[in-house]
């Protein structure tokens, strides 16, 4: 709601040098700010620790162990290297599926956007697939591609593909035609218009799709791993649950949460990097 639109830019130009020696007053202020900002998380963790211990009846407590038990379990798994194995399994699956989705989705999206005939032709089918919940297709993937890595990577690919594809199409379609005209007058041929104007201009919107794809990839992978896998965080969750290792289950869920957060943060950072030229 800031009406102070002018503020940022000139300030950041003038003060680059002054910024180098932050005063202690500023450090304290920054610390207080960080504390304030983490307040909600700390509160949540406290509730998690205290409510099971002091509020819940013992029977329910079994199913909602206090935080420290979960952290103990998490620590054990870190030490033993178990956690690393599961994370590696999940990460590699989602990374492969996700990277394939980007590698296929972006070029296909650009082509579809550019050749509007192709777009007209494919669009309805894409719309139908896009709106078909990936998890509804999980049995089909298992039937057709088996229960191994192939079907897991494929379902991640499927889930991540559509956000990338559709945002690429959207991005390429919403490129300012003026930039294309400018490109043409500057001697760019069709292919150069494509690679030097349309693609870079679409980057911010494509990245929105990539970020959505990241979220989808993790979500769907967890579900896929819950059915027929021998490693991975989804497997760890269901397997722990099936073994009554409830703290272990929560530790796995916590790991998923942290991982999801990290993946998103990484993608946001990447997006910032590639879109830094976009209007502030």
């Amino acid at each position: 709601m800031s009406t102070l639109v002018l503020q940022d830019q000139p300030a950041s130009i003038d003060v680059v040098s002054a910024q180098r020696k932050p005063s202690t007053g500023r450090a304290i202020k920054a610390l207080r700010k960080t504390l304030y900002r983490s307040g909600a998380i700390i509160g949540f963790l406290l509730v998690w620790e205290l409510v099971p211990q002091f509020v819940l009846e013992p029977a329910s407590k079994v199913f909602l162990p206090p935080l420290h038990e979960v952290l103990q379990q998490l620590w054990k798994m870190i030490i033993s290297g178990d956690l690393a194995t599961h994370i590696a399994a999940s990460l590699s699956r989602s990374a492969i599926g996700f990277i394939l989705a980007v590698a296929i989705g972006v070029p296909v999206g650009l082509v579809v956007a550019w050749f509007s005939k192709v777009g007209d032709f494919l669009n309805p089918l894409l719309e139908v697939f896009r709106n078909t919940a990936a998890l509804a297709l999980l049995p089909v993937f298992t039937l057709l591609l088996g229960i191994g890595e192939l079907s897991k990577v494929s379902i991640v690919l499927y889930a991540a593909f559509f956000p990338v594809l559709l945002n690429t199409i959207l991005g390429a379609r919403s490129v300012d035609p003026l930039l294309i005209r400018a490109g043409r007058t500057l001697g760019l041929n069709s292919f150069e218009i494509f690679s030097k104007v349309v693609l870079p201009a679409s980057v911010p919107i494509i990245f929105t799709g990539i970020r959505m794809a990241g979220t989808s990839a993790v979500l769907v992978l967890i579900a896929a791993e819950m059915i027929g896998a021998k490693a991975g965080l989804g497997y760890l969750i269901t397997n722990s649950q099936a073994s009554f290792l409830i703290p272990k289950m929560y530790a796995a869920i916590l790991t998923v949460a942290i991982l999801g957060f990290a993946v998103n943060a990484a993608l946001v950072a990447l997006e910032r990097h590639f879109s830094r030229w976009a209007r502030a």
């Binding site: 830019q9 003026l178 005209r181 043409r184 007058t185 500057l186 001697g187 030097k196 870079p200 201009a201």
Partner: protein, 282 residues
């Protein structure tokens, strides 16, 4: 570096296929024009009279429906580095720095084997950014620049590969009045130094008179040249505030009258004309 432009019996019709029956809009009809080597030629006319249409054709971005346009005797077959365009909305590539924007045309030239090498291109970009009064902004992105600075970069970009003709479509319309005057002076200065042929479209009578050696006044529906006024003023930059002089006022008035009459029938309802102002920033 210079070029003669001959426009002969040019017509441009747009087909509209959005509706059930195809309706055609005649944007330009039987237009004849002759623009000389190194001339600063300005074009004024009401909104929708076909100014941008004409410029697009000159740029090679669209083709005539009838008639022909010859540049140095040869018909236009498409966009070319010989004819640069400066647009009202700058049209800088926002993901490129100022220097990189200026080098786009140079790189195209290089790809066709007749250009500069990388180091030379960088030097050239610097040179032209200096020409438009921008030094030290090489590494800045467009969003870090003010409107006036952006348009300067766009001008540098259009000139860097040394085209024969510079086509400008209301390049200063989005700027505030004082920045606009600065850039007008800058443009005159560049023109005098490079003697590039300039075709300059504007809505502003004052701007047309201030810049042009010749001012073509257009009328609309269909777009035609109503009159071409030769402007005979002393060197604008050497006189203090030439716009306030009597002679300037006379030219101004003459063109005002031409425009006013040609607008008459359409301006009866004040909304009639502005409806077509689709180019106005929203």
């Amino acid at each position: 570096m210079m070029s003669t432009i001959e426009i002969k019996n040019l017509s441009k019709t747009f087909q509209r296929t959005g509706a059930s029956e195809q309706s055609a809009v005649t944007a330009l009809e039987s237009l004849d024009l002759w623009i000389q080597d190194g001339e600063f030629f300005t074009l004024v006319g009401p909104s929708g009279c076909g100014k941008s249409t004409l410029l697009d054709i000159l740029a090679g971005l669209s083709s005539p429906s009838r008639g022909e346009v010859l540049v140095d005797g040869a018909p236009i077959s498409g966009p070319s580095l010989e004819r640069s365009v400066v647009f009202q909305q700058y049209a800088l590539f926002p993901w490129l720095t100022a220097a990189a924007n200026v080098q786009v045309g140079l790189e195209s030239q290089a790809r066709h084997g007749q250009g500069l090498n990388k180091a030379e291109r960088r030097v050239r970009a610097h040179e032209y950014l200096s020409l438009v009064g921008l030094e030290g902004v090489e590494a800045k992105y467009p969003h870090e620049l003010s409107g006036g600075m952006r348009q300067r970069v766009a001008i540098a970009r259009a000139l860097a590969h040394e085209p024969k003709v510079l086509l400008m479509d209301e390049p200063f319309a989005a700027l505030d009045a004082q920045t606009r005057e600065q850039l007008q002076d800058l443009l005159l200065d560049i023109w005098k130094r490079t003697k590039t042929t300039i075709v300059f479209i504007t809505h502003g009578i004052e701007e047309a008179v201030y810049l042009g050696q010749k001012v073509a006044v257009m009328s609309s529906k269909p777009g035609k040249i109503k009159e071409i006024v030769d402007i005979d003023l002393e060197d604008r930059l050497s006189v203090d505030d030439i716009r306030s002089t009597r002679r300037f006022g006379e030219y101004r008035h003459h063109i005002w009258t031409l425009l006013h009459n040609s607008n008459q029938q359409e301006t009866d309802t004040p909304t009639g004309k502005t409806l077509v102002t689709s180019g106005a920033p929203a």
